[in-house]
Amino acid sequence: MALTLSEAGQNVVAGTFGRAMKRAGEALGSMSGQVIEVQTPMLRRCTAADVLTMAGGPESVVLAVYVGIFGSLQGHALLLFSPTDAHRLAQILLAGLLGPGELPMEATSDVLAYDELELSALQEAGNVTISAFLNELGTHLNEPVMPTPPQVVIEMAGAVLDAVLLDLVSDADQVLAAKTTFSEGGRAIDGTLFVLPRADSLRVLLDALGAIGI
């Protein structure tokens, strides 16, 4: 049964998710050693088709790190990059780990080809980013929020997102979608963080924030 959020309740969720998304951006910045700008997060009640549009359209190709959210609050989180930006971020992450001059991979003409080290680094970046979001959220909750292990998928955005959306719209026509964009100015890397909570599980967050019934 979907929870009907009042406008005030939705504002409370938007504020809390916004702070958590900023923490997520800071975590990505700290891991990559870069200054990451976090675009003002937005929370929208919208249709499944709207979410696909927000992700760049169903056929746009993305590298996605998916983490499922279990525990007192449930839902799905995805960190999306264009294939080119994902390569750039992987280069930065691996340069930080291995030191200059030790990059193991050679530039490839196939933008959809990633070696195992790149995929591992990007998976960990998604994990760290989404975990930072959940940790911030967890400070407001009495019971833990647990992430699944991360999964990296290189696919059309529609194909990555539809299973998540189907999970959310089986008993509702609309979903709550929180989104922000992370930008690393120097190398022009943009990443998009989506968090799609199960609306019925937001009751626990509103309750913990003293906002239930508003």
Partner: protein
């Protein structure tokens, strides 16, 4: 639902269907993961339809007429007949129902979609001439109304089903 006689690309968004009898029409569903697309084409009247189903079962939904297979399939079949197709000579093909996300274990919707589609069609005496179901790759599908060709595009290939 969109009915048109003009040459065009008609897109079946998630939970939507498109139909046409125009020989210039291309019916497309982009980026299918766990969703399932059903294509129907009548070789005599050259009427084509493409439905982008989301889930196995649920109540009839006006905003998304083919959101659910069990309540949306008849809506699609009736729309085909209304457009001039005869179902028992039409060719049906299905694609999608992949498993993209494997962590968490709770998102095995593709498999249930494939099973429901096959069962719901069998109940109505309709058989699938060809399928591209399951796996772990996304698909974009396209039905050519002029000749009934059903094309499937993934990140790595384009093929005809």
């Amino acid at each position: 639902m969109t009915l048109t006689e003009s040459p065009s690309l008609l897109v079946a968004g998630i939970g939507e269907m498109v139909l046409s009898s125009s020989s210039d029409a291309h019916l497309v569903a982009y980026g299918l993961g766990s969703c399932i697309a059903l294509a129907a084409w009548d070789p005599r009247t050259r009427v084509g339809g493409l439905a982008h189903f989301m889930l196995p079962n649920g109540p009839a939904n006006n905003a998304s007429p083919v959101k659910f297979i069990d309540t949306g399939l008849d809506t699609f079949l009736k729309a085909m007949e209304a457009q001039g197709a005869t179902l028992n000579r039409s060719v049906f093909k299905a694609a999608g129902a992949a498993a993209m996300l494997t962590v968490g274990g709770g998102l095995a919707i593709g498999k249930r979609n494939a099973e429901m589609m096959q069962a719901a069609l069998a109940e109505r005496g309709v058989s699938l001439a060809a399928t591209a179901l399951g796996g772990n790759a996304g698909r974009t599908v396209q039905l050519e109304v002029a000749d009934g060709r059903f094309l499937i595009k993934s990140l790595s290939s384009v093929s005809e089903l």
